[in-house]
Symmetry: C2
Subunit: 151 residues, 2 copies
DNA sequence: TATAATAGTTTCGCTGCTTAACTATAACGT
DNA sequence: ACGTTATAGTTAAGCAGCGAAACTATTATA
């Protein structure tokens, strides 16, 4: 609309306000859904679900996951432990660097992740039912922007 | 751009993909920041911070907060307990309905919330430094859309 | 008035997180 | 080659957050 080459000022504040009034409650809602519905059916906590999701997206080590989730390595190590015991994940010692432990989903882990993910997505789809094409494209663009804030 | 009156299809999936690859890591990052920086300076956990924030935004009861955060009433009750002990919050029994407990920030609670909030916002501002006016306006609009998903 | 509904709290047990200390392996400087 | 330092991960202890169930107190309803 307007042609401002340098960073704005009050617009930033407005964006921050909107962010804070939207994202936390929305995320709470999603967490709540996963906890009550999906997690209950598949015996998986939200944190475990997140870890599976991150592993499938390419984070293959404890350190990677700790960085991505912004929590300590021991916390990840313990969570991974439970997932390995549950047969959803495997640990494999690295061959190049033997300190490294490669994490990978088992077939069952993959299937469970698919199931929860699809369940949650379909719930979100209904929540987005009223969105216009324009709104959706807007969301997509703004997600691409916000992604730059990570790391 | 395009003129579609009815709900789209693959655009929804695209929006969901972007959402999932952006929001969880971004939110993790923010939580991590609050935990390590702000919380450490002010001896306040993220959950306590959130509760103060919600109370100031108008949620004045345990039930309200439980709904907003999508967690159980006992969980809120316990968190409120700690905040009252810490002198950041007051409980006042309702006069109309004596079952109701009105929660309110103390002067100190207000000040602490301001401090953490401003600290976090200024950190986020630097993260948004590279955003163009257009991107920011986009974020604002999409937050308005996403807000409709809550509740 | 008896019964049901609502607001909040207490208790108990579980999970997730952190810090500190530890093992094992790799890289580096001398 | 060797001692130091750094890195990857784990274990252990303790605390915070959460839910389920059971409870108190108050208000609404039949």
């Amino acid at each position: 609309m307007t042609k401002s080459p340098s960073p704005p000022k009050e617009i930033v504040e407005e964006a921050l306000d909107r962010f804070w009034e939207t994202v936390p409650p929305l995320w709470s809602q999603i967490r709540g859904y996963i906890r009550s519905a999906a997690a209950k059916n598949f015996r998986l906590s939200i944190e475990q679900f997140q870890i599976l999701r991150l592993i499938r997206s390419g984070r293959g080590s404890v350190s990677d996951l700790a960085t991505a989730k912004n929590i300590s390595r021991p916390a990840i190590s313990q969570a991974v432990d439970a997932l390995v015991k549950g047969g959803l994940l495997t640990r494999t010692q690295g061959i190049e660097d033997r300190r490294h432990v490669q994490l990978a989903l088992t077939g069952r882990g993959d299937a469970v992740l698919d199931a929860i993910f699809e369940d949650t997505r379909s719930w979100m789809r209904t929540k987005m039912a009223s969105f216009s094409r324009n709104e959706l494209e807007n969301v997509i663009r703004s997600m691409e922007s916000l992604k730059k804030m990570v790391d």
